[in-house]
């Protein structure tokens, strides 16, 4: 059966509309983002001729190994810290009715503040004459100020503070989806509150824990501003090493390090895709 001409034309037109709508942004992202990043990454294969030497020399590169482990170690500590501090808050957020809006405000206020300002806040707190030192000395715990700022601990504390909401929000989401009648059934069947938590609530909140852990870990891997501001001069992160190499115009090495950082993040995200509840984890990184 022949379709009348104007109808066929309008049908074809209808089918091209989605492409026409998406094209401007896709072209924009290709030209100003994807191609620049890819062409930079390609530099890692040239030194100056086509070679893999940048990559093959990495295992013997003492600086790289040290920085890479420091980056991983910091991310692990920060992830564990946010998990430890985040879970109780998520639980409180979901359990309380009256205080929930207040708790949410306390979580969101720092979340909406820029990383630069929050890192600066920790500089103010942890300085030699900062609030923490002054308070500890006034209370008699210290005789003279201790070195807090520009230590690995400072980086870890500030990063836990900055990334904590990324852990709290997915866990609270998972907790909210648990059917309250399950907890009632458990306690009706004789489980203690702790038993109900361990055997019902905790396992059912695991998708949220997985999403929060992935989000915090991957974001922590790329941290630059905070460790540069409050961290130790020796304990630099991969991002800081990359920036340093760019400053020295060591492009092929910087590109190689960037590829390693990106690949590490992608491998972890890829491995996590098998876990339940991961699907939309990164869409939640919207503040």
């Amino acid at each position: 059966m022949a379709v009348s001409r104007p109808f066929a034309a309008s049908f074809a037109w209808q089918r091209t509309v989605p492409y026409l709508l998406a094209a401007p942004l896709l072209i924009f992202m290709l030209v100003f983002y994807a191609l620049p990043v890819l062409s930079m990454l390609m530099r890692s294969f040239f030194n100056p001729g086509l070679t893999l030497s940048n990559y093959t020399s990495l295992p013997d590169d003492v600086v790289f190994i040290k920085v890479f482990w420091n980056t991983l170690y910091t991310s692990i500590i920060v992830t564990l810290g946010t998990l430890l501090l985040g879970y109780p808050v998520a639980l409180a957020l979901v359990r309380t009715r009256r205080l929930a809006p207040l708790i949410l405000i306390v979580i969101m206020l720092p979340f909406w503040t820029s990383v630069l300002v929050r890192s600066y806040a920790w500089m103010v707190l942890m300085g030699r004459h900062g609030l923490i030192n002054e308070a500890m000395m006034a209370a008699g715990f210290l005789d003279r100020p201790m070195r807090l700022l520009n230590t690995p601990l400072a980086t870890q504390i500030a990063m836990v503070h900055i990334l904590l909401p990324y852990m709290i929000l997915p866990i609270a989401n998972a907790l909210r989806q648990i059917d309250p009648s399950l907890a009632r059934a458990a306690s009706g069947l004789g489980a203690t509150p702790l038993g109900t938590f361990r055997q019902v609530i905790l396992p059912l909140s695991m998708p949220g824990v997985a999403a929060g852990t992935l989000l915090v870990f991957v974001l922590a891997l790329g941290f630059y501003i905070t460790p540069a501001m409050v961290g130790g001069p020796r304990e630099i992160t991969l991002s800081m090493l990359i920036a340093q190499q760019v400053d020295q115009l060591n492009w092929s090495y910087a590109a190689c390090l960037s590829a390693v950082l990106l690949a590490t993040a992608l491998v972890i995200i890829g491995a996590a895709q098998r876990l339940p509840g991961i699907g939309n984890a990164f869409k939640m990184s919207a503040r």
């Binding site: 401007p24 942004l25 109780p88 909406w112 806040a121 707190l125 503070h161 920036a243 992608l266």
Partner: protein, 263 residues
């Protein structure tokens, strides 16, 4: 219930959660309090309250110029990313599934790719065309970082629309364009607005890309703060920080309320 149980069951968890919440909010509060300090150095609590650091900020062209640049760049980013992002969200929803995955993968990837990699990639390409140190470079780069937020926000409100509304409009004789402006757009307006607010804040707060692209000709406010922090941490930065906290919290609060009302 005996005392031990009461402590273990209620008092202890409340105290623990209270302390964690204090940890979250305290640094922000300290910066705000310090910004009203009369002291020339950072000390807490301040000896007396004074507005001198706000006067120092508002009276100094070296602070105001970067502030205006950040505002203009962010405004341009809002226009560009909201326009491109909204159109793309409308298009992507109707692409074949395989293409949809590729397109949204490209658009959302800045959420996953470490920002230093994006920053030096763009710096690497832009420096060849003499764009470093121009506001245009910042607008283009910040738009790439802001677009994922616009697309996710608009897509979320698009998926919440009952398709029968658009079908009804078309069957009642409205043109596709008329349907868009009179049915679809009013329905996704909250999503577009939330995306626009996110885009503004993403650009206004952005530092890592600006560290490479600002050069000396296009210094943004975060870049100016960063440069200042290397030499002195006088309370002017606390005053600037407080102002940016107030601005971002107000805008994000709006976005939060809009999103809540839309769902």
């Amino acid at each position: 219930m005996n005392l031990v149980q009461a402590i273990a069951g209620r008092v202890l968890p409340t105290t623990v959660v209270g302390l964690i919440l204090l940890f979250l909010i305290f640094p922000i509060v300290v910066v705000m309090v310090v910004s009203f300090s009369s002291a020339t150095y950072l000390t807490f609590p301040p000896p007396a309250f004074d507005l001198r650091w706000y006067k120092a900020y508002f009276g100094n062209e070296d602070w105001l110029r970067p502030t205006w640049l950040s505002i203009w760049v962010a405004a341009a980013v809002v226009i560009l990313s909201t326009l491109l992002g909204t159109l793309a969200a409308l298009g992507i929803a109707r692409l074949p599934p395989a293409l949809r995955v590729v397109a949204s993968g490209l658009i959302l990837s800045p959420l996953i790719v470490p920002v230093i990699v994006v920053a030096i990639g763009i710096y690497y390409a832009f420096s060849r065309y003499g764009l470093v140190g121009t506001p245009v470079a910042l607008v283009l780069a910040h738009t790439c970082l802001a677009v994922p937020f616009v697309v996710t926000s608009v897509s979320a409100s698009l998926s919440g629309i009952d398709p029968r509304l658009q079908q009804a409009s078309l069957s009642l004789g409205a043109t596709p364009i008329g349907t868009f402006f009179q049915v679809t757009l009013p329905l996704i307006r909250p999503g577009v607005l939330v995306g626009a607010l996110f885009a503004f804040i993403t650009s206004f707060d952005e530092l890592v890309v600006s560290l490479f692209l600002s050069g000396s000709g296009a210094v943004t406010l975060p870049r100016r703060m960063w440069d200042d922090l290397r030499f002195a941490i006088d309370p002017t930065i606390a005053a600037v920080s407080t102002l940016t906290i107030v601005l971002t919290v107000a805008l994000m609060g709006c976005a939060h309320l809009l999103r809540k009302r839309a769902t």
